[in-house]
């Protein structure tokens, strides 16, 4: 069976085609292409501009994906699209495209939860059986574990998502948004070495990032004003933007690893799977790996093709649901900005 997946909950527009072999076995990726709306340095992406970008690119991307996959319309079994969560306007423009294709081709629609898409794709690619999932991106920060047909949320960000914290700090420093603000912060952090004191906000298995952002923003402002240079209290070295990025990453990632470890201890699991855009960060993967191996476990992570929002994960999760008989009628093919991971009945797992 073949599914077409359309993803556009944030600034990436993704189109993917996946094949689930009829006799079982690993899924085959026929096409997985993406186009990203990149805003200028110092700016975030606005919903209306992002939606415009998606509308302008969706037809081109679908055509390209079909060509790359070398499949015809008749081969496709269903059209999967992101129902939520995400930004309203981009979600709507992609939902419209999905409906259009569904009517044009006479194929069933499948509305997919974006977070479940990430989890299922991560499991498929890495082969992790029943891991604790850390889902970290620009819009979501959740620690998830599976129990009785639901992906249950054990911990999450209480205010802004971790990716949002990093993105916004990139804006403060006027760092380029190309290819992604988080990627550029990661490169700068590699050159930083002085750890500055930032708040550390873990509440049980939840965490908070807004206070850290406010603190690091004010430190950056202080650096701007002081032309002679601020010095680190212990080393006496001049504090650089690189040090700020380093301190920010070390602090927020330590928090993420800690809440993940707490969830692992709580459910008694030794596997951890990192998904979502921030999951590409190699420092986060490294820290998670150290934690997991100290617990006698292992960490699973994917690269940017699957970590960052993509169409293939929507196609994959949608097809899993479709195979259990799930479809979304045209009347119900809406989208929603708020769609909890634990609202989805995971019929395809034991």
């Amino acid at each position: 069976m073949i599914a077409l997946g359309l993803e556009g909950s944030a600034n990436k527009l993704g189109v993917g085609l996946i094949l689930h072999p009829p006799k079982g076995g690993p899924a085959q990726i026929l096409a997985n292409i993406r186009h990203t709306f990149i805003s200028p340095p110092g700016e975030g992406f606005l919903p209306k501009d992002t939606a415009k970008h998606h509308r302008a690119w969706v037809v081109r991307l679908v055509k390209q994906a079909m060509k790359e996959a070398n499949v015809s319309v008749d081969d496709v079994n269903c059209i999967c699209y992101t129902k939520g969560p995400g930004m309203g306007a981009p979600l709507q423009s992609v939902a419209v495209a999905a409906r259009m294709l569904s009517l044009l081709w006479g194929k069933e629609l499948v509305g997919v939860n974006h977070c479940v898409g990430h989890i299922e794709m991560g499991r498929e690619i890495t082969g992790a059986q029943n891991p604790v999932v850390l889902y970290v991106s620009g819009g979501n920060t959740q620690v998830i574990a599976y129990a009785s047909q639901r992906y249950r949320i054990f911990g999450e960000a209480l205010d802004i998502a971790v990716g949002n914290c990093l993105d916004r700090f990139a804006r403060t420093l006027n760092i380029s948004n190309d290819p992604a603000p988080g990627y550029n912060i990661e490169q700068m952090a590699k050159k930083g070495k002085n750890l500055l004191d930032l708040p550390y906000a873990v509440k049980g298995m939840d965490c908070s990032f807004s206070g850290i952002l406010a603190t690091v923003d004010s430190l950056a402002a202080k650096l701007e004003q002081d032309t002679t240079g601020c010095r680190d209290e212990t080393t006496g070295e001049i504090i650089t933007h690189e040090d700020l990025c380093f301190s920010l990453q070390e602090t927020v990632f330590a928090m993420l690893v800690e809440i993940t470890e707490r969830a692992m201890a709580h459910v008694g699991s030794s596997q951890v799977l990192i998904v979502g855009g921030v999951g590409c960060n190699e420092r986060l993967q490294e820290m998670m790996g150290m934690m997991a191996s100290a617990r006698g476990g292992s960490v699973f992570a994917t690269d940017e093709r699957f970590c960052i929002d993509n169409g293939i994960m929507i196609a994959h999760a949608g097809l899993l649901a479709y195979r259990t008989g799930f479809t979304t009628s045209l009347e119900e093919s809406t989208c929603t900005q708020r769609f909890r991971t634990d609202e989805v009945l995971v019929k395809w797992r034991d």
Partner: protein, 291 residues
């Protein structure tokens, strides 16, 4: 993608020479819990060792370890003074990088009184197992409600004296065996701080009842505890428990309401906290806005 076999870290100096060596009871996220003895070999105690975390920056690690051990010990001492049931603190070392300790990879420790019993989590898991086989579901539910009621009362008392636990889960609530309880010590190793019984339903039922109805609720793990008298912090504390409960014991979610009910009845200020809890619930991200 590395896999490795788990090997517990080396214990810091005073404990390398302990005979018999401390036995590892459980591995939490932040700390390792050992059973050992204090001064006399007949006097059991719990040793909570916080090894340094290699994934954390050493400066951040030392800061967190020191802060958490100290605040944990201070909170427990304060709670005991106020007459709340917590393990008594026997000793601490919170400076990860001094003397021999630095050589051993840092970390700090706290030694405390041993609590004979099991965690509420294990107890509830055992109840879930028994429920299937014993056929007396309503009786068990009532007994669970009884336990939930006592938990609610003790949490309210804790909040009244201005302690916020910070990591309330069913793993952090110990149920101490009643005095008349024939607990499972055979060869000096207790099943306490331990795993659920895996025996079949009918035999375990009286043991379960004893724990559910008469077991003393002892709060443990104050590693994330803070001081606050704000309704907001108290409500978030309860919210953490509610969420942990819902995800760990989905089958007993109805009984959880008894915790909140007892909490609300236990003090005058508690109702305001419960009102605040309703706001906190709506605050989690991506919640549907219905209701």
């Amino acid at each position: 993608m590395s896999a490795s076999v788990f090997s517990p870290p080396h214990l810091p100096p005073p404990f390398v020479n302990t005979v018999p060596p401390p036995t590892l009871i459980s591995q939490g996220a932040e700390a390792l819990l050992y059973r050992t003895h204090f001064l006399q070999s007949t006097h059991p105690c719990a040793l909570k060792y916080r090894p340094s975390k290699p994934y954390r920056h050493p400066t951040l690690d030392a800061r967190l370890t020191k802060h958490r051990i100290l605040s944990e010990a201070r909170t427990m001492v304060r709670m005991r003074k106020e007459g709340l049931k917590v393990p008594g603190v026997l000793g601490v070392d919170c400076e990860p990088a001094h003397g021999d300790n630095a050589r051993k990879g840092g970390g700090g420790w706290m030694m405390m009184e041993w609590v004979e019993g099991q965690t509420a989590k294990d107890l509830l898991v055992a109840v879930k197992e028994t429920r299937k086989s014993c056929g007396r579901e309503e009786v068990l539910r009532e007994q669970v409600r009884n336990l939930m009621h006592r938990i609610g009362t003790i949490l309210c008392k804790m909040h009244e004296i201005g302690v916020i636990h910070g990591d309330l889960t069913t793993s952090n609530l110990m149920i101490r065996h009643g005095a008349q309880q024939p607990h499972g010590i055979t060869d000096g190793h207790a099943e306490g701080h331990g795993r659920a019984n895996n025996t079949s339903g009918i035999e375990t039922e009286p043991i379960l009842r004893e724990a559910l109805v008469n077991g003393e609720v002892v709060l443990i793990d104050f590693g994330l505890a803070t001081s606050s008298i704000q309704d907001e912090d108290k409500a978030v504390d309860l919210y953490v428990l509610e969420r942990a409960f819902g995800s760990t014991h989905p089958e007993a979610e109805d009984e959880f309401n008894e915790v909140l009910k007892a909490y609300g009845e236990s003090s005058r200020g508690a109702r305001v906290v419960l009102k605040r809890l309703e706001d906190v619930r709506l605050r989690g991200r991506k919640k549907s806005m219905i209701g």
